[in-house]
Symmetry: C4
Subunit: 494 residues, 4 copies
């Protein structure tokens, strides 16, 4: 392969940094010259080096906090949030502020927690009669909202939208939908009917079956926390790497399954397929069952099962360990960068949303049934937009009360910072804390940082020294050139 | 050890690159000056650095697609495929084109899939009477063809031919041959005979027993896909590294087996050997059986079994994990290079085939029984060659119809590319896509590439900087030399 | 993130080294200019590079041995121990010397061993009547002393004091306290009462239950030995890294538990929770129980349990292995540095102790009940201090007899070394031994050292060469500058 | 730590190489200036870098083959083997040649194989009567010889002699001695006596019990083969690293054992100790037994056993895997060097043997009983030495017949090589084969070498480039200095 790719990447990286830096000096002008947003492009290209740069992170951070917002007139342009320093409470009480990624994320997490709480309530209030109580009703309404949301996004973004979490969520919603449908069928039968009872049990079973997915789904929304985020990145890479392993495992499994079924068919006792499947599954779980194979086409069955066990337990599972190990080490080396990339991607996802108005599920049901269906198709756009604003303002009032308060407080700090001639951020960064309270900071944060940075410094040290030599040599050349000019002068005179 | 080996390797590498590059400028002339093909030599020497070079990969790629073909007159020479740009359909409808590695590989994969399908059919149509149906007949015919192919290749290439996959395939064919022979013995007995039934069952058992090998055999032919190829390389290295471990395990096992058998002999209950073997195998599988050893030469039997378990489960299996880990990490670091080497080796294998005419198994049976046996020994060579061509043309007509169509289409692209002054390849490489559709490419391909390349860039960066310094210093020296001449001029005048 | 952190760290590191070196030349003067002790700061900041420097280690070593002691007048200042070279026995027989970290540590270990011995005695002298014998009495007195110690330290230091070992110890003490309380309740009932017997059994069970903690507690005090220290560091890091993993595991477990309980509720057989918990725990231990799930909401229960097993056994436990691996490799790379940091931290912990008088638990009980409560609140400070000294002198007499003897011997070596003009240390360091008895030293020590150092040397070699080039270039520049001056001189004359 | 150690090592390394190279140019003179042999010192210091140098390996190789032999007059001096080129058969038929490490090693391996064969014979010819047959007799004679050998070596070398393999062998011999003694006791009772039978069974049990040690003992003598040697090195390091882990495990085990025994004592069912031990051992083997703990001081017993399992299975065993992994990776990085060190050590062991006369066990019995005891104490030294030679010549005649033949053949090759002006070695080294039969060599050897070397080359490349810059700069400085002189010349004239 040619080295074109590096040069391309280096160039792109250079441009991005140039643009990103310019953006802060001449306020987003640099962006207009490019057809696509450089921040987005870096996320799409997964350019870790660019994403890891401090300028980039600052930009993402500003977007996350809503200090850079989409222009009302041109959603593809980002402008500085004008009212950043306004200390008036009602100025910040603006439904438009809900587009800020941080608030959207908070609302999403809140709804997820409520959703989980509803589920926990529903699963612990199982009644044999199968009547829908209020908790279950809300649970299904939420589920319907989420399903609508997924369908709408898939419709708008297309097949690129399908990622691991989307498929995961969709599976969960599908299970709940099946549970709902079976419940409806159950309720369709009269009370006391045996089928009503049977479908009710089936419905509850599907509901209970989805519990692990409900809880692990929490992880998705916890990726804002650094540790969970890094862990998720690691898990994601490990899963991707192990996919091919499981494919290999599948081929081996199919081969052995066919062999066992074949041996079984020879014996004509065709009911053993379930036993075979169970024995093979148990072997993978590390608790093989050798007893049943004694009378299974002896000695072929037993020998084959031993070979199967040896390949699975001794070879393949150990290879899986090696695979996980290798993936884990690769990813932990740049877990922080990967986490930043994840965070940037998440921020971009909110910013990039094609919608002007953000109705986070299950509020999208309100949008769908109370706004889009009855009004959108006949109402003039400005009126509809105003209506949207009113509804959003109403729905998000509790949140706005909080965010406006927080923003007002932040605004005070920012304006105070500005008066002191400092940057807008009010947070004292970790390394700034260093000088002040080394004890507190030293415990956790800096320890971690220092380790990572020390490694980087070590890695880049040869460059530094070599660079110094290079600089020296270049200066030397200039001096020699000067010398030459001087001698030429002498010669000219001589 | 002296450093001769590096210098030798560096020199060889230099020569190879020189030759490989020249080859494309002056069309394969460079090759004639060398007694052996440099491409082949690199494969044989497993010179990853050479194989990984873009020039080399281009060359292999051209060979793979059949744009460089063996000269009709001198099979050891490669010439450009003359009709590459011909857009005529019938020009490409040429049996000679079947020698192209890509097509041969496709045919091999197709036959493997058909073979597996036949097997699946046979195993699912087990009948107690044991009559050979058409599917089983075809299966055995295919097997016979594969066996002939292996024997012929072993005969021609010699013992160097024996690799892992050949032994693997041979074992599979042997199992099928045993199955066939036992079936024949069964059919030799009258219907209703108990022995007929017994041999039938035995035959079917052998047939079923080979199922895992059938399915894992698929992997061999799937190594053209990048992921499977890399995985196979990894597996191969891991198996090779673990061989010595299993030898060590064997010594330990033999030692313990002798100890248990000895303890058993002391007790004079000589029937326990099977129990001992089973207990030891179960220990390796991770589910030891301690109960049976309570009454086994107490307390020696139980103590020894605990020691055995500790050594196997706690020490040796964990060492195996460490071994796999180490091998896996070594190989994943240059998995792409290794995959390229595998691909080159595969291409070379097709190109290097000593045969002029390619009858892929099971067509080799047709060659053997319809051409070689009845005709070759009396027919004049040109007539026989023509006959060969006719037969091949007839057999491969379905394939030729497809390949000729594909080649015609490619030819159009190539001639269009040439008119535009570009290289012949019509494929837009990954890094070229980068500029166009960064979204699509960014998902999978470039992500992977970028990671690998970024690492390389990081590794080689010190060189780059140091090199820059070196260049600067050299230029500086020239300037100083010029200065010296100037001063000498002054002195001369002075 | 900006690179500020590195620069900050580099600066701090530079300062520390500067100060640490100065400290030995101008005797601790450098320290007064800094508000906080640089040695402590390095420990707090976990600045491995600084801690690993030889000057730092020398300083810590001097503190450990008591050659640098806290000034009597100003505890935040350290002065050279005046009597280091005094060979008089009674000069060293000074209760103040007990503040020396080495002696304090020895006493702590001794008490821990006695504590463990008491416990072993108590657990092996279990009597159904439940009467407290002398061993048990001492055990509980010790425990009370340790509890007072922990409470006092927590009171003084605040929540930063809570580390892994403190919580560990507190749990142990809590178990023993529970055991004591239940025993007291038991003794409150008359002999022969069934409740007395029951509470006695409960008390003994709690006592026995704490045995593993008692023994592993030994490790804490064995960290003075290099191997145990390094192992503890490794374990600590691994535990910290795996915390997040266990959190992830917990979420998965809660999810599955809810699912199983839900399925159970549907079936209305509500007593199965214990069975579910046991089955899940067994799955984590690697011995799943599939049998019980056959009749558990079929087929949901069994499928879910298989999925649970697969996720736990195949995915999560292997991820844990990968995590441990990665953490282990990271830590073993700089295990020696980490061990030095641990050692420094331990030394600092003793030095930094806010107390003037050191009553190591359980002697703190004597301090508390015989000194603080009856005397401290009314006695004048100097008299109280003298009383303290007397009591300490009395309590620690056995130890002082030994330490004074050892110090006298050391003093002789030191003064002899000084006369020979060498450093004070009487120990011949490993590399000094090299020249003398390479056989003995070569076995263990140097082997280890050489490996580690060789790696470092290899890593830093490029720097060295590049540095040489840099130096050369700089000298060259000076020469060229000289040349320029000469030519200017010529020009001036010309 | 100071950097003294590196400098020391570098210096030593420099000296060694200097001396080792000189040794070949001026024939071992360099050695006399040093009090101890540098080759031995490198082995003792485990200086891998020195041992891995080609000069060192050549030297060891010469010693191994006996081309450098100990001087007859001064055993601490090595001289060239004079008769290397002599093609006369009887010149090589010299008992002194048996001191050559290669032959000694061969004899040792041969005796080990015979010993194992005797053992296998003995264990498979177990007779209830317990009579000693010839095979068993020989086995015990061999064992006695080996024991004498170990005792003699331990006596001469001292406690430094005790290594892993020595303790291993001693354990084996002790088991066999116990077996012999019990057999003797058995034979002391009349036939038919129940005690005779019982002791016979005991004797055979001990004999059978030692089988695993017998077989794994083979590995020790197979370390001459490269693969086994490297594997042994790896195992050795892993065992050493895991020792501390097993110590940690032991502390945990003791803690839990005490807890379980304590809980057991409370219940007063004192017979459960065996059950506890078994349950704990099974937990370590990965097959815990939870059932028995249900009624064991509920709920303490069960909870404690779960905690125990969790700590052992999930935490400690995974840590062991991490430990093995880390050790394995460290060692495989320089496994070849380590193997060379092992080989050098082995060679030195033979060369360094304090004995003048080599009676390899069990021939040492002949030495002891036929030479030392009857003759040494009264015979004059020269006569005794001659007697020794005669006996050795007689014993080793079969071997001498072979070695003399081999040496004669080698001599012819060497003299032919010398006439051609080449080095003495007749073996074509791997890299020399490269040019000749790249196919054959490329399969195994070079592949391995190339990988290793390629890595080294990559690692050292920055140095090369930086070095080039350095050289250039230095030359530049000289040129500038010349320039300065020229200008001074001008100035002088001007």
């Amino acid at each position: 392969m040619a080295k074109l790719i590096i040069e391309a990447e280096e160039d792109v990286g250079y441009l991005l940094q140039e643009v990103l830096l310019k953006r802060y000096s001449i306020l987003v002008d640099g962006e207009e010259t490019m057809p696509a947003n450089v921040v987005e492009r870096a996320v799409d290209l997964h350019a870790l080096r660019v994403i890891g740069s401090s300028g980039y992170q600052k930009c993402v951070n500003y977007l996350w906090r809503g200090w850079l917002v989409q222009d009302d007139d041109d959603p593809s342009r980002f402008v500085d949030y004008k009212e950043k320093t306004s200390t008036s409470y009602w100025v910040h009480f603006d439904p438009d502020r809900l587009r800020v990624p941080m608030y959207q994320n908070t609302v999403q997490i809140a709804f997820s927690v409520i959703y989980l709480a509803l589920y926990t309530g529903a699963i612990n209030s199982i009644n044999p009669s199968g009547d829908l109580d209020i908790v279950e009703g809300l649970l299904y309404v939420f589920t319907f909202g989420f399903i609508c949301d997924e369908v709408a996004k898939l419709w708008k973004v297309g097949r690129w939208y399908l990622g691991f979490w989307n498929i995961y969520n969709s599976t969960l919603y599908a299970l709940l939908a099946v549970s709902f449908v079976t419940r409806m069928i159950a309720l369709g039968h009269p009370i006391g009917d045996e089928r009503r009872f049977r479908f009710n049990v089936l419905s509850y079973n599907f509901l209970a079956f989805s519990a692990p997915m409900f809880w692990t789904r929490l992880l998705l929304f916890l990726d804002g926390f650094r540790f969970f985020g890094a862990m998720l990145v690691v898990l994601k890479v490990m899963m991707r790497e192990s996919l091919i392993f499981f494919l290999l495992l599948l081929v081996v499994l199919v081969g052995f399954l066919q062999a066992f079924v074949g041996l079984d068919q020879v014996d004509n006792n065709l009911g053993a397929t379930k036993f075979i499947l169970k024995a093979m599954a148990n072997a993978i779980m590390g608790s093989p069952e050798f007893d049943g194979f004694d009378g299974f086409a002896p000695p072929f069955g037993l020998i084959l099962y031993y070979i199967f066990n040896f390949i699975i337990v001794v070879i393949l599972l150990n290879i899986l360990i090696a695979l996980y190990n290798s993936a884990y080490e690769d990813i932990t080396d740049n877990a922080i960068d990967e986490y930043m990339a994840l965070f940037s991607q998440k921020t971009m996802q909110f910013v990039r949303a094609p919608d002007e108005n953000v109705f986070i599920a299950p509020f999208n049901l309100i949008e769908l049934f109370c706004l889009v269906l009855p009004f959108e198709w006949w109402m003039p756009a400005p009126a509809y937009a105003r209506l949207n604003d009113y509804v959003m303002g109403f729905l998000y009032t509790p949140l706005l009360l909080v965010t406006a308060y927080l923003e007002t407080r932040t605004a005070r700090v920012v304006s105070w910072n500005r008066r002191r001639g400092e940057a807008d951020e009010d947070t004292v960064e970790e390394w700034e804390q260093l000088g002040e309270s080394e004890r507190a900071a030293g415990r956790e944060g800096v320890d971690f940082e220092a380790d990572g940075w020390a490694k980087r410094v070590l890695e880049s040290r040869p460059n530094v020294v070599a660079n110094a030599a290079l600089v020296e040599v270049r200066e030397l050349r200039e001096e020699v050139a000067e010398l030459k000019r001087m001698i030429e002068g002498i010669r000219g005179r001589g």
